[in-house]
Each structure stands twice: as C-alpha cells, then as structure tokens.
C-alpha cells in the first residue's frame, strides 16, 4: 500500500517533485513570516506592557518608508511565487507530443477506464512506468474530478466536455485514485487504485494476461458503426448522403453557414448527439439525433473507429483533409481546455 512518508504523498510522477519543491519553498516562506510576526508581537507585548493605569503609548502615526518596504517585498515575493507556480502549471497542463491515451469516464460513483486496445476497467487503472500517459476525461451525469495524489494531478470530469490530464509514472506500485468533486451520495466511494507496472508487465497485462480477450476499442466502434446504421450514409461512396469520415479528425470542415471548424472528438461527439448544430456544407440536414441511444463509452468507441479509418486522398468531407493520416494514428486531441461542444469556434455575428 502507500509507502509514502506521512507528511506528503510519495512522489510517483515526474511532476511530483517539481510541485513539492514549490510546496516546500512556500512552507519555508510561511514559516519565516509566521516566526517573524509572532516573535515581534510577543516581544512588543512583553516589552511594552502597561506599567501604570493611565500610561499611554507613544503617539507614532506611521512611516511611509516602512509601508513601502512591506508592500514592495511581499509584492516581489508574490510575483516570484506566481511565475514559479504558473511555469510548473503549464508543464502540468500541456501534455508531451507522444502519449499513451486512456479514456476515463466518471459515472455516479465509479470510474470507468477504457484503454484503446480494448481493456475496460472499473476503479482500477493499469499504466506502464516511464511512459507519458494522457487521460481524456468526461462524465456521464454530474461533475466528478479524477485525482491521483501521488502524481499530483487532478482534473474535473465535466459531462458534455472532454478534459485531459497527463502524467509520467516513475515508480511502480499501487496508488490512490479519488473523486475530488462532490458528486452525490457515494462520492467517498468513488475511489480506486492505479497500478504502475514495468512496460513489459503492462504489455503482458494488455495482451490479455490480466484482462478478458476482447476487441480493441476501434473494433468495438466498428461494430457500433454498423449496428447504429451509420454505414448507410457515411461510407464515402458516391450515393452516400452523409460526408465520408476518413481522416476526419484533425481536418478542418466547412459548414453550411460558410465558417469552418476543426474536427475534434468534441465535434464528433456533438455531431452524433446533435447533428443539426453543425451541418457540413453541401449535405442535407437529415441526420437523426442519437441522443439517449449511445452512451459516452460508445461515443468514444465510435470516435476511435473513425480515427482508425484509412484516409483516402481528398476524402469528400467538404474540407481540406490532411493527406495520408496513417491508420491507428494518435487520436486527435480534444482541443486543449477542450472546446465547448458547439459554436465555440464560430465568429460571433
């Protein structure tokens, strides 16, 4: 179990030490000012205690010099702390280019993790050590927050949006996973464990050693694609009424109204649930809504399948498609702090 020293959690990720260094500096700074003020107060209180009933204090009204000193110094210290905190934060907020992506779906009172190779886990997460892992997080009902103290990472799971956090685990072992945003009755039960394994053990676990042999996420997406009759419109043939989806993710799509949008997982999710929000130019707005028929995991599976589609040259989805997106490419990144589903890129008219 947790072998961390009692005063702060074990440093099990690359970022943990950087956050802790700032934390220790802050402790030192606070200790200094606390001791300074408490000592001054105690000294003055004893030295200038009242000796006669009608004794009064010296009529000192203040000194500009002193005021400037204890405005300037705290200001400088504050700015130093701000810059330090912000720089470490930017490293936390921006994942490296190559990451192993795992989907996390918060649902009232459990965490569902979905590996791209198909493994599904509830409240347990297996990750390889020394590999940057990016969690793409969403929620199904209310707000949750994926919090792994030992990696010093936390990100809210917001229904209707994709948010992300990343870490590179440095020590193998088992660490806590908590839900940090109050989400109802069993909020304190929505916990689990992260198992950091050596990369080989992880491959073995992935290969079914530890989990039932199942189709990869993309394959599940493919089955759904046919099952939900998306095939009838979206396979890119000439008679197809819907835009082809090859190499869609990451490309820019021109819409009915003339403006263009970058196709991100949030765009795919929104187009599944609310097709009318963004109709691709040149296509009739006839797609039915799938609201209530697909769960968050199924949307993720469909998105994964769309990513895995081989991109023909100049796919006919009404926009300049980047050529030659190799199959199984890194999945498109939800655009950073993740675009709001609809309308966020639209210029305001």
């Amino acid at each position: 179990m947790q072998a961390g020293t009692p005063l702060f959690p074990v440093q099990a990720s690359t970022m943990a030490s950087r956050v802790d260094n700032l934390y220790f500096f802050l402790i030192a700074l606070s200790a200094f000012f606390t001791v300074l003020i408490v000592a001054l107060v105690a000294y003055f209180a004893v030295k200038y205690r009242r000796r006669r009933v009608d004794e009064i204090g010296a009529p000192i009204h203040g000194s500009l010099a002193l005021e400037l000193v204890w405005t300037g110094i705290p200001l400088i210290l504050a700015m130093v702390l701000f810059v330090w905190g912000a720089s470490v934060y930017f490293a936390l907020a921006r994942p490296p280019a190559e990451t192993l992506d795992i989907y996390a779906v918060g649902k009232q009172w459990m965490w569902k993790f979905q590996h791209r190779e198909g493994q599904r886990e509830i409240n347990t997460l297996h990750v390889p050590a020394n590999v940057p892992v990016r969690m793409i997080i969403t929620a199904e009902d209310v707000l949750h927050s994926l919090y792994i103290p030992s990696f010093r990472v936390k990100m809210d799971a917001i229904p209707g949006r994709y948010t992300q956090l990343w870490f590179t685990a440095t020590r193998t072992g088992e660490y806590h996973v908590f839900c940090a945003e109050y989400c109802g009755t069993n909020h304190s039960g929505m916990i689990g464990s992260v198992y950091v394994m050596e990369p080989e053990q992880y491959q073995a676990w992935l290969g079914g050693g530890g989990a039932p042999q199942g189709a990869s996420l993309a394959q599940t997406g493919e089955q759904l694609f046919t099952q939900l009759a998306c095939v009838t419109c979206h396979t890119g043939g000439p008679t197809q009424r819907g835009p082809a989806l090859n190499g869609l993710l990451g490309s820019t799509v021109t819409l009915e109204g003339g403006q263009s949008v970058t196709a991100t997982p949030a765009y795919v999710r929104e187009s599944i649930l609310e097709p009318m929000a963004k109709v691709v130019a040149g296509y009739p707005p006839i797609m039915p809504t799938f609201q209530g028929q697909v769960s968050e995991e199924q949307i993720l599976a469909l998105t994964e399948y769309i990513k895995s589609l081989p991109a023909q040259g100049g796919g006919a989805h009404g926009g300049a498609a980047p050529a030659g997106a190799p199959a199984g490419t890194q999945p498109a990144v939800p655009d950073g702090g993740t675009a709001v589903p609809p309308g966020s890129q639209q210029p305001q008219r």
Partner: protein
C-alpha cells in the same frame, strides 16, 4: 474624571469601573415588551436581535460540525450513512456561511456601533434596517424548513448539475432561504454606505473615521455589488430545478462551468465580507489596548478598500481544475497574489502598532493576538492555493478546508469574540468576568489549532474534502482534528454562559471602562436611545491618546 494612579493588575478594567453606576434611562429600559423589540427601529436593538438570532444559527451549524468531525474519527463510514453525512456537512456549510459568518460582525457590532462611532443618532434608514432583520429571519426559517424536510446535500456551493438535476434533497427550500437572506445583507450594506457618507458628526472627515467604519464601508461595497449576483445564480438553479430548462444542465446544452463563474463571482468576495469586519475590530482592539494610534492609519484604511475591489477580480482561483482554460487560470492566479498584498500590509501595520505601546492583556487583546497569528497562517496558506501548480494538487482536499477555516474561524470568529468582549460593557453596561473570558479564549485558541492544523497535513497527503469514508492512513490526523473540535466546542460554549450571566449579574461598567478613545465611549453605557445627548463635534484625530484637550462634546 482623571482616574487615580494605581498599579495595574490584569483586570485593569475593574479598577476604573469600581465606582461606576448604571445610567437611569438607556436604550434597553427605554421601552419594554415584545412589541418594542420586534418593531424597533433603534439600530442598537436591531443589533441585539441579530446577536440572538445568529448565535442560535452558530450553535446549530456547530452541531453539524461536531457530527462531521465525529464521523471522521474512523476511516469507515459507521456513525452516519453517506447521505446523512452529506447533509450534515452541507448544512454546516450553508448555516455557518450564510446565516452566521456573513451577518456576524456587520449585523451585530456593525449595526450597534456604526452610528455611535460616526456620532449619528441612528442609521440612515432605520425601517429598512428592521426589514433587513426580518428578511434574515424569513430566510432562516426557510433554511430550518429545508433542514426539517431532510436538509440539502449539494454542499454549500450548490454546484450544478448536481444541485439542479441530480440531487433529490430539499435544495429548492434551501436555495430560497439563501436567496432571501442575501437581501438582508444587501440592505445592511446599503444602510452602512449611506450612513457613512451622509451622517458623519461635524468635524469627522473621512480621515478621522474609525477603521471599524472603514472596514464596514468596504464590506458594504461587496454586499451591494456581489450579493445580487449569487441571488440571481441561486434563482437560476431554482428555475432549472423546477422547469428543467437546461441553463446549467450539460445534457441539454447548458454549461456547469458558467454556474461556477457566476457563483464564485460573489462567493470569493463573500470571504472578504467575512474577514474585513474582523479586521476592523482588530484595528480598534489593538489600537485601544496599546493605547496608541494605529500605525499607518491611511494604509490600513485604503487596504480595506483595495481588498474589496481586487477581491472581485480573483474568483477563478476556485476553478483552476474545473475545466477553466490555462490562460484565464494564469490571469486569476496573478490577481489572487495581488489581493494578498493589502492583507500583508494590514498585518504588518497591526504588529507595528504594538511598538512603544502601553499594552494590557484584557480578553479582547488576547483574541487580537490570536487573530494576528491565525489570520497570518490563513493568509499565507492562501499563497499556496494561489500558485496554480500547488492548487492542482490541493484543490478540494483538506488543505483548502484548513486554509479557509484558518481565515473564517481563526480570523473572523476570533475577531467577533474579541469585538463582543471589547464592546460588551458598551452594549450591556456590564463588565464580563475577566478570568472566565481569558480561559475560554485560551481554550478556543488551543482547540482551534488542534482541529485545523492536522488538516493541512492530511490535505497535502491527498485526503479529499466531503469524504464520508477515507483510506486508513489518514486516520491519525483526523483523530487529532476531532479531539481539537471537542475542545473548540467547549471553548465556544463558555462565552454563552458567562456573558449571559454578566448581563444580569455583572458589575456596572461605566462610560469608558478600558479608558480608551472613540466616540462610542463618549456616551453612557448602555447608550441612550439617541446615542448622544448632544451631537459630538470631533476635533482631534482618531485614536489620539496624546494629551490633547478632551473631545469637546457639542
């Protein structure tokens, strides 16, 4: 009336008050019967009405705090069911924040003292002041009704979509209660602003206004400009909950983060509503018991205003991990560091006031020392959570719980108790028992630190807040915290007992038992209904203990 020179004992006040006698006619015995109290427009009586009602809410909220602490004695959720625990910490939050802390100092001491300190006969709109109390009571009844009906289980923050869609507790009644009580503090703020601008005694320029009044003026700015935004936000949650319109419901297009923006736009300045009046009390107490003018009067005064204004720009630091974009997180972090500077200025000025003072150790001064230490730690841990990198780790953990309790309980509550003791002779005309008061102050200080310091540690260890069960390795700190909570509880019960006792049996205090400066000490204790027999004319500066001529009265 020059007091004879005798060696000072710790009970300085008693020496001066030996010969004092109660005035024949004052605002308490001017008229009797429940009608004279429930329909009063006298700001002093309304202050007392508030004192009784918020004390009831304080102990109600305190009970829930003890329930929460008892539950957390053990890692397993064995004392209460998860649902009961959620309602316990939510009601603790709602009652303490909206029904005790926000009205505590402004509505009791503020109402009582502002006209006295400004040399006015009453607040600008006495009838609106009474309406403010009635709105507080109606809001309180709604909160109690929601409590009886099962309580709210959304946390005092009412986060959507849980509060608007998923919760099936009495959210609507609780929301209406908070909405109505909001207008009570808006009307108090309105009264204070107009009184400070329009009803100062002759000769009292802005730079001679006591710091207590400055801090309440700054607080009133937040009352006026912040409270309506939370009122409309709570109304929108009710609108959503009743009619499922989807303003905050993500499944039909709403944005829960918008709720957080609107909620925290008020709720961060609300923490300055809670602490600024406490700072006003501390400025008065430290200057009075050091018997010298406050150090850097204008700096302390303007830092109150600075806190009130910059306080409106920093709310995003509650949402660093709530899906807020990194760029706005950056902006909120730098502004949060700027808002810490005025608090630092105040702390340094209070400490400098003690230099070359004539310091006595009555209970209010002990509370002031306690405030200095604990508010300092609360403020410094604020620097921790303003750094985005550390906040990502400690957000929604017990580190944040400890931070805001250090400011609210260590700061505002200590200042409130200090203020109650300091002005008790003026309010009731009686002296409180010094010995018991010092004991309870010590109990409160020890109990407080034992309760909340361990929470910093368990917070950084990663224990999330609002958890009914927690991993066993956090138990050590929680046991310490619960032990502290019991001592704190006892420490809070003492003042209830001996203050009530002193009201009836205490020795008469006389006009100025502590022999300090201030317009409120120029009139009798307790003061007549119209505060001053003749409107005082202010000639010398505030807190001027130097032997200038006495303040000539009218």
């Amino acid at each position: 009336m020059s007091p004879e020179i005798t060696p000072v004992t710790t009970a300085g006040a008693h020496i001066l008050a030996r010969g004092a006698v109660m005035p024949a006619r004052h605002y308490l015995n001017e008229s009797g019967g429940w009608k004279s109290w429930l329909l009063t427009t006298d700001h002093k009586r309304i202050g007392l009405l508030y004192l009784f009602s918020i004390t009831v809410f304080f102990f109600l909220g305190g009970l829930f705090a003890l329930a929460v602490r008892l539950e957390l004695l053990t890692p397993a959720g064995d004392l209460m069911s998860a649902d009961m625990y959620n309602r316990a910490f939510t009601m603790h939050g709602i009652i303490m924040v909206f029904f005790f802390l926000i009205p505590s100092i402004p509505a009791t001491l503020g109402n009582f003292l502002l006209p006295l300190m400004l040399g006015a006969k009453d607040l600008a709109f006495p009838r609106i002041n009474l309406l403010s109390w009635y709105l507080f009571i109606i809001g309180g009844l709604f909160a109690v009704a929601s409590l009886i009906g099962g309580g709210v289980d959304t946390g005092w923050t009412f986060y959507a979509p849980y509060s608007s869609m998923a919760s099936n507790s009495r959210v609507l009644t609780g929301a209406v209660g908070v909405f109505i009580t909001g207008f009570s503090s808006i009307l108090t703020g309105l009264n204070f602003i107009v009184t400070t601008h329009r009803m100062r005694a002759p000769g009292m320029t802005w730079m001679k206004v006591p710091l207590f009044v400055w801090s309440h003026y700054a607080t009133s700015l937040i009352f006026i400009l912040g409270t309506p935004v939370v009122a409309i936000t709570i109304l929108l949650v009710a609108y959503e909950r009743v009619m499922r319109v989807g303003i905050f419901d993500p499944s039909i297009g709403g944005d829960p983060v918008l709720f957080q923006h609107l909620f925290w736009f008020y709720s961060h300045p609300a923490v300055y509503i809670m602490v600024l009046p406490g700072m006003g009390v501390i400025s008065e107490v430290i200057s009075a018991f050091s018997r010298k003018p406050i150090f850097g009067y204008s700096f302390v005064a303007f830092s109150s205003l600075a806190i009130a204004v910059i306080g409106f720009l920093v709310w995003g630091h509650h949402m660093f991990v709530a899906g807020e974009t990194p760029y706005s997180a950056l902006m909120f972090s730098i502004l949060s560091y700027l808002v810490a500077i005025p608090s630092a200025i105040k702390t340094f000025n209070w400490t400098a006031t003690l230099y070359k003072g004539s310091i006595s150790y009555e209970t209010p001064m002990l509370y002031a020392f306690g405030f200095l230490g604990l508010f300092l730690m609360g403020g410094l841990t604020g620097l921790f959570v303003a750094a985005i990198a550390v906040d990502v780790h400690v957000h929604d953990t017990y580190f944040v719980v400890a931070h805001f309790h250090y400011i609210m309980v260590g700061g505002t509550l200590m200042a409130y108790l200090g203020g109650i003791h300091y002005w008790w002779p003026k309010i009731t005309g009686k002296l409180y028992p010094e010995g018991w008061a010092k004991l309870s102050a010590l109990l409160v200080f020890v109990g407080f630190n034992l309760t909340f310091f361990p929470q910093f540690i368990v917070g950084y260890l990663g224990m999330p807040r609002r958890y009914h069960m927690y991993p066993p390795e956090f138990q050590v700190w929680n046991v310490l915290s619960t032990a502290g909570a019991t001592i704190l509880g006892v420490g809070y019960v003492f003042p209830m007992v001996y203050l009530a006792w002193s009201w009836k049996y205490g020795k008469p205090a006389g006009d100025n038992p502590f022999n300090v400066k201030g317009l409120e000490w120029e009139t009798t204790s307790p003061p007549p209904t119209f505060n001053f027999d003749r409107t005082p004319v202010v000639t010398d500066a505030t807190y001027s203990y130097a032997p200038q001529k006495e303040v000539n009265v009218g």
